[in-house]
């Protein structure tokens, strides 16, 4: 048993990490699906979209073959409309609300139609937005992820000059570094960022980390306002014995490696345990399998019924051949010669519902051991606690506190996205970026 890369040949890697989303091959396919849309009034799908995209509107525009108008409708509500069409858990959002569900019919393929309209816009950099002339206001945005770039784009449209500081060498944030490669390819992420910035007035400075290369104090004095959209950090600690053994990794770093290196360079075990059943856990498990791990087991302390991921995500893991240990809670990582050799789990049962409304797992006092050589932690993420604590910004356990307008306790400083909510969907971060831009424009006295 060993942890190693180079498990597959080039063709296998390419096949395993190819875009999982089947687009519409033809215009006819898209138009037929678009015509199924009933064009609901005050549409439930739009209401369940955190960015309130006018979904019936953009679908009608696909039906009338006004593709540019369709892309415009999407992007004016969500500048990450391309990426969101690939990563949104739509069965819990727009597609889950589609009235066809109430007729026991297949909901409209909203995500697929959204991809159809946004992909050519991003690929050909359609000029859909006109930036107003500069109003001589400068705003710093920290983090070129969905929250930061959505904020930057909205500000730039109104003539604000935006400088984005990004700690990585590429933009896109979690979209580029934290999501399974088959959902959004690295090329797509790069194209999306350059599409967003093509409106002008957005200067991204890469390899500039807050607290290292730049400080909040400097930014506050050099800019009229600052938006913090730095996301969240590594996966939550398990706080169990053996967590420091070689072979215990956190899912965020694991996926980060995958997104920044050649697939062959990413090491994976023969037998891998993934802790958690959220979207990131599924991503980590399927990616481990697709890198050539022989056996991947997802360990979750509740049952499939309480899963935080969507059914569609779970199906991907099942189809990839991942195994599942439900009602199992990691108790100890065991090792030999400093390396992981197994994972001991408590057997659980479901007790009373907790504050989330889900029944909480209770230990039965029995254990079992999984023979594994790699453990990936994917049971939630932790904020950049020390970074936040080093500033005077108010926070709760590292999550930045804001008022309803996303202003922090520090004057001129606003924040949004995962760094205030602890980790939600890309689409939630985008809405935060838009809301913060609205608040910043109001603060700057720029009339949008």
């Amino acid at each position: 048993m060993s942890i190693s890369g180079n498990r597959l040949n080039t063709e296998q890697y390419l096949a395993n990490f190819d875009d999982i989303h089947p687009g519409f091959e033809t215009k006819e396919g898209a138009v037929i699906e678009a015509n199924r849309c009933l064009f609901c009034y005050d549409a439930p799908c739009t209401k369940l979209c955190p960015t309130s995209i006018n979904i019936p509107g953009f679908i009608k525009q696909i039906a009338s073959q006004n593709l540019k108008g369709s892309a415009q409708t999407i992007f004016s509500s969500n500048i990450f409309g391309g990426g969101c069409s690939k990563v949104c858990p739509v069965e819990k959002l727009c597609e889950g609300a589609c009235v066809y569900n109430l007729m026991e019919e297949k909901p409209i393929s909203i995500a697929r139609l959204q991809r159809y309209a946004t992909e050519p816009a991003i690929e050909h950099k359609w000029h859909l937005f006109e930036r107003k002339t500069s109003v001589n206001k400068k705003v710093a945005v920290v983090g070129a992820g969905p929250a930061g770039l959505a904020c930057a784009h909205a500000l730039s449209l109104e003539g604000v000059d935006v400088t984005v500081f990004e700690k990585e060498s590429k933009g896109g944030g979690l979209m580029t570094y934290g999501i399974a490669a088959y959902k959004v390819t690295p090329e797509f992420c790069e194209n999306e960022v350059s599409f967003i910035t093509s409106v002008g007035g957005i200067d991204i400075r890469y390899n500039q980390a807050l607290g290292k290369d730049i400080s909040l104090t400097e930014l506050r004095s050099a800019f009229d306002a600052v938006f913090i959209g730095i996301g969240v950090g590594v996966a939550r600690q398990l706080d169990i014995e053996g967590e420091d053994l070689v072979g215990v990794v956190d899912a965020i770093s694991f996926i980060y490696n995958l997104r920044t290196k050649d697939y062959a360079e990413v090491a994976v075990g023969d037998k891998v345990a993934v802790i958690g059943l959220g979207m990131t856990a599924i991503d980590a498990a399927t990616q481990a399998k697709r890198l050539g791990a022989k056996e991947v087991t997802i360990v979750y302390r509740r049952t499939e019924n309480e899963k935080p991921c969507t059914q569609e995500e779970l199906n991907i893991a099942k189809l990839d051949g991942c195994k599942f240990e439900y009602l199992a809670s990691p108790k100890q990582v065991v090792g030999q010669n400093g390396k992981v050799s197994g994972l001991i789990c408590d057997k659980m049962t479901l007790g009373e519902p907790d504050e989330s409304g889900r029944r909480s797992p209770v230990s039965l006092g029995e254990t079992f051991e999984l023979e594994v050589d790699m453990v990936i932690k994917a049971a939630g993420q932790t904020p950049f606690e020390s970074l936040i604590k080093s500033s005077n910004i108010l926070h709760k356990n590292g999550k930045i506190l804001t008022d309803d307008s996303l202003a922090t306790n520090l004057s001129t400083v606003f924040a949004g996205g995962d760094c205030i909510n602890g980790g939600k969907e890309v689409v939630n971060a985008v809405q935060d970026g838009k809301d913060a831009a609205t608040a910043i424009l109001r603060y700057l006295g720029v009339n949008a």
Binding site: I32, N35, C40, D42, P44, K47, L48, A63, V99, M103
Partner: protein
């Protein structure tokens, strides 16, 4: 099992479905395929003087992603030599003696020409003749087709010429490109025609290529008006058929109904409004002859359900239900009712009523699903909400009469009752 066979002026066919005079009936090979598939009969594509057709002949209109809701053509009468057509007609008659063989004719404007053509057709053994007074393009410029049908006196004259030599039933096909089909219909009946058929195609422009700005169909950069047909024209055809069924002169002869018949329901509707049988073209041009199977089985099952033993049991049954507006009962009142258990909360009824009708639907906001209910005192019973609702029987119209007794417009005015109800 109901008997769906048909007898049109003694021309018998195993079912009431004939193929209309059109491209599908232009050649023996097509006609044989149709009869093998089970069609009751054909009206052979119009014979006349030798013509030449252009290339690029058809164009269509789609609706919401569906193809060929409406269809138009600029094809002329048969462009094959007359002797070939006559020989093939004879051959088909021999092969399928139990099917109706009617031949469409459009001779040049002379008594001799018409006599000659009628005789030639009779020599083949064909069962009937259909006079093409309807073709709206190409032939009209030469004083034929619709040019004849649009002028009742010319129509009467030609029918009279034909009847001088006709030994088999003559059907006169009417053009819809007139303000009313009744005058030419009357003229044809007075001229002695044995039957009528309607409608022929409607002059149209189906659309324009928005890249080249050339209307359809594009013949080398130019276009002309074409004859419109297909499902889109059915309601117009039904209206014209009804006027023929209501007129005391034209309703003395049997009618063959034409215009967008695509399903057995369409056929039943034509027959309920007075057609003895129907003719079909566009639907087979879209799907091929195989649709005859459902046309027959659907009709058969419907007749069984309704207890009609033969088609004559229901032909014309809906004609008396069509009246003048003045005869309608003003005390008849219906209001919409939304079944909340069936509602899918799409809001289409609400926005249609709120924006374009009588603001009679109440919206109660919900997340993500709104709820909708009828404000009965505002509802005028227009049916719009029911028509746009995507769920069958979710919205029903409930009868709530203003008063028990019936009262029509004339009586209402005579009684001096108040007109303004707002």
């Amino acid at each position: 099992m109901a008997d769906i066979s048909s007898d049109f002026l003694g021309i018998k066919s195993p079912n009431p479905y004939w193929l209309a005079s059109a491209p599908p009936t232009d050649k023996k090979i097509n006609v044989i395929r149709a009869l093998e598939a089970g069609w009751g009969g054909v009206v052979w594509k119009t014979l006349g003087s030798q013509v030449k057709n252009v290339s690029s002949r058809y164009s269509a209109v789609g609706y919401n992603g569906q193809r060929v809701m409406g269809f138009n053509n600029i094809e002329l009468i048969s462009d094959r030599p007359l002797d070939i057509n006559l020989r093939e007609i004879k051959e088909v008659l021999k092969e399928f003696p139990d099917r109706a063989m009617v031949v469409s004719l459009m001779a040049d404007n002379s008594r001799e020409k018409w006599h000659e053509m009628v005789k030639q057709v009779q020599d083949t053994g064909a069962h009937g003749i259909e006079l093409n007074f309807g073709c709206p393009h190409g032939m009209t410029e030469r004083g034929m087709g619709a040019a004849v049908g649009q002028d009742p006196e010319i129509a009467r004259m030609i029918v009279e010429w034909v009847m001088e030599v006709a030994e088999i039933p003559v059907i006169t096909k009417l053009t819809p490109n007139v303000h009313s089909v009744v005058p030419s219909g009357k003229a044809a009946v007075e001229g002695g025609t044995n039957a009528l058929s309607l409608i022929n195609t409607i002059q149209s422009v189906t659309g324009i290529d928005l890249d080249t700005l050339i209307p359809n169909p594009n013949v080398g950069g130019q276009s002309v008006f074409g004859g419109y047909c297909g499902p889109a024209v059915k309601p117009i055809a039904l209206k014209m058929l009804t006027t023929i069924s209501q007129d005391n002169i034209t309703n003395k002869v049997p009618v063959s109904g034409i215009g967008g018949v695509s399903t057995w329901q369409d056929a039943v509707e034509f027959m309920l409004l007075g057609a003895t049988n129907v003719q079909v073209c566009t639907a087979v041009m879209k799907y091929g002859f195989r649709i005859i199977e459902d046309l027959c089985s659907g009709l058969n099952n419907w007749m069984d359900e309704k207890g009609f033993a033969r088609t004559t049991d229901f032909i014309g049954k809906s004609v008396p239900k069509m009246t003048d507006w003045e005869q309608l009962d003003l005390n008849f009142h219906i209001v919409a009712n939304i079944n909340p258990d069936k509602c899918v909360h799409c809001g289409l009824c609400y926005i249609a009523c709120e924006d374009t009708s009588h603001q009679s639907i109440n919206l109660s906001k919900g997340f993500p699903y709104n709820n909708y209910s009828i404000i009965e005192e505002e509802c005028v019973g227009c049916n719009l909400c029911k028509l746009v609702c995507p769920v069958e029987d979710c919205i029903t119209m409930v009868e709530k009469r203003h008063a028990e007794e019936k009262i029509n417009w004339k009586e209402f005015v005579n009684k001096g009752l108040p007109l303004n109800s707002h």
